[in-house]
Assembly symmetry: C2
Homo-oligomer: 309 residues x 2
């Protein structure tokens, strides 16, 4: 089978686009999709200082690589969740990647900050690990970017992530969350930095293929906590449908975005103010992060910031 662009040997078939590419043309296609996302959605320009949220997985490292190669100013923030072997391996991949590309990575270690990893921390809070993890990551990425002059936070969420999240929000018809379901969340004066998802047009499979073909050394193992995550079930459900009707995920998410542009949902009526405990923006009395922290036993409450590794 031959590449549809250059007639070299095919390495990948993309059912949803009815396309087949050789290695070079696939990498070209992938990087074109990322550039298209960045320009179409006005994510950032070469003047921006971009903080890339990296976990050590394929998505965030593939994103970082594309941004470095395109000449953007980047540094990364990694959250070490303190899950034994998984977190050690993840941190190692991140540090090695940064060193290979001569880039800076900052690490926030939950065990250093709280003497607890995410498993023990969510146990203390009686909250699912993925939920506590989400609050901590969103908080640390935003706070670190604001305090250190980064103008944009970029995350590696791909099409599968966004479609699964949209499905979860649609199943509950949660308008407040649907409003935030965008590849770009603009900064606001109350203290939220701009957030972007340049891989939103690319499937999980395509990101994995890109990482593999580029020799990116990422942590292959999924986070062991994610096994019971609702997101994983939404992904399985969508994969069932995608298998029968290729292109469903893409149509589901991209049509949602198009409709949002044409006839947006009514804007949020939530008023933001500064959290009295930490100064970060929140719509509640105290922000979600400080609420979590206040429920931890005394010594675990200490808030530690990221350190340069």
């Amino acid at each position: 089978m031959r590449c549809q662009k250059c007639h070299q040997k095919v390495v990948i078939k993309i059912s949803r686009a009815n396309a087949k590419y050789c290695k070079a043309c696939f990498i070209g296609y992938f990087e074109h999709q990322v550039r298209r996302a960045i320009t179409k959605e006005r994510m950032f320009s070469p003047e921006d200082r971009i903080l890339v949220a990296v976990s050590g997985g394929k998505d965030s490292l593939a994103l970082w690589q594309v941004l470095i190669q395109a000449g953007y100013q980047t540094a990364a923030l990694h959250i070490d969740l303190g899950i034994e072997r998984y977190s050690e391996s993840s941190s190692e991949k991140v540090v090695q990647f940064a060193a290979r590309h001569g880039q800076k990575v900052y690490t926030h270690r939950l065990k250093e900050a709280h003497q607890l990893g995410i498993v023990e921390l969510s146990g203390e809070l009686d909250r699912p690990p993925c939920s506590a993890c989400g609050v901590i990551k969103r908080y640390q990425f935003n706070r670190f970017a604001m305090e250190n002059g980064y103008t944009v936070v970029a995350t590696g969420h791909n099409l599968d992530d966004e479609a699964a999240r949209l499905l979860g929000n649609v199943l509950r018809w949660q308008n407040e969350y649907l409003l935030k379901q965008s590849p770009v969340l603009e900064k606001n004066e109350e203290g939220f930095v701009k957030k972007v998802k340049p891989l939103y047009r690319l499937s999980e499979y395509e990101v994995a293929a890109y990482s593999f073909l580029n020799g990116i050394d990422y942590v292959v193992e999924e986070c062991p906590m994610s096994e019971s995550s609702p997101m994983l079930v939404y992904k399985k459900a969508l994969n069932l449908i995608e298998h029968q009707s290729p292109g469903t995920k893409q149509q589901f998410y991209l049509s949602f975005l198009d409709n949002q542009k044409k006839s947006p949902l009514p804007p949020s009526t939530m008023a933001l103010h500064s959290c009295p405990a930490c100064g970060q923006p929140t719509s509640s009395e105290v922000c979600g992060y400080c609420k979590i922290m206040s429920r931890l036993p005394g010594p675990a409450q200490k808030v530690g910031g990221p350190s340069l590794t």
Copy 2:
């Protein structure tokens, strides 16, 4: 384990409602849900003449039984799809049920009308069988009701059917179809009879249990054509999610209906007129049914109406 209402022995647990019932209390719960649907959604009153669309499966026969027991004026219309053993068995169940309850059933036989069953017919049309079947059924039910003075057509669609259909429509963001996603479609002057789905609050599992506990003799086998139907994949996908989060289907569909009441989608702009070939209402030049029929070979085009069995 004891029934939550009367402490008799439990026969069924309903995870989504966190409920467990004995036989009598489950039947009471089931019939209460149907009555609630009928009154809450103003589906019909004892003065209405109701045409029940019966396939011979558990849903339509359970619906018919509840309506007969509640004293409504009913008759049924059955479409014999001409699928060998499956259709023979389905027709037999329908006729036996009608005889046992002293009710009238009319049958429209595709093989008598067109010399073709649904399999051969969809082959001639190069169209998936479920799609051709849907057009034919909707047409025949509406036309027969209009021509014979029935004021309402009632179908046995349950919560799983409606949630799966909603998922399919949401995955494509098809507003025209989302507008029709209601347990009641009012009659209109252009020639559509009122259509209602009194089982929309009850899951497939609950309808099966009700039919079993009432000794309703229904065709257990699924239509052999439905194996490749997208609806079946949507149901599988929703079942995956329901298994992890009981109540998801109910919340998905019932919240959609609530939102529709609070802030409806913009109304359809499609204008209806009479099909020049048959007089039935349509938004196209010729109605979907006549379009299908005109593509069949000459002798198959003949339109036969239902006959009293």
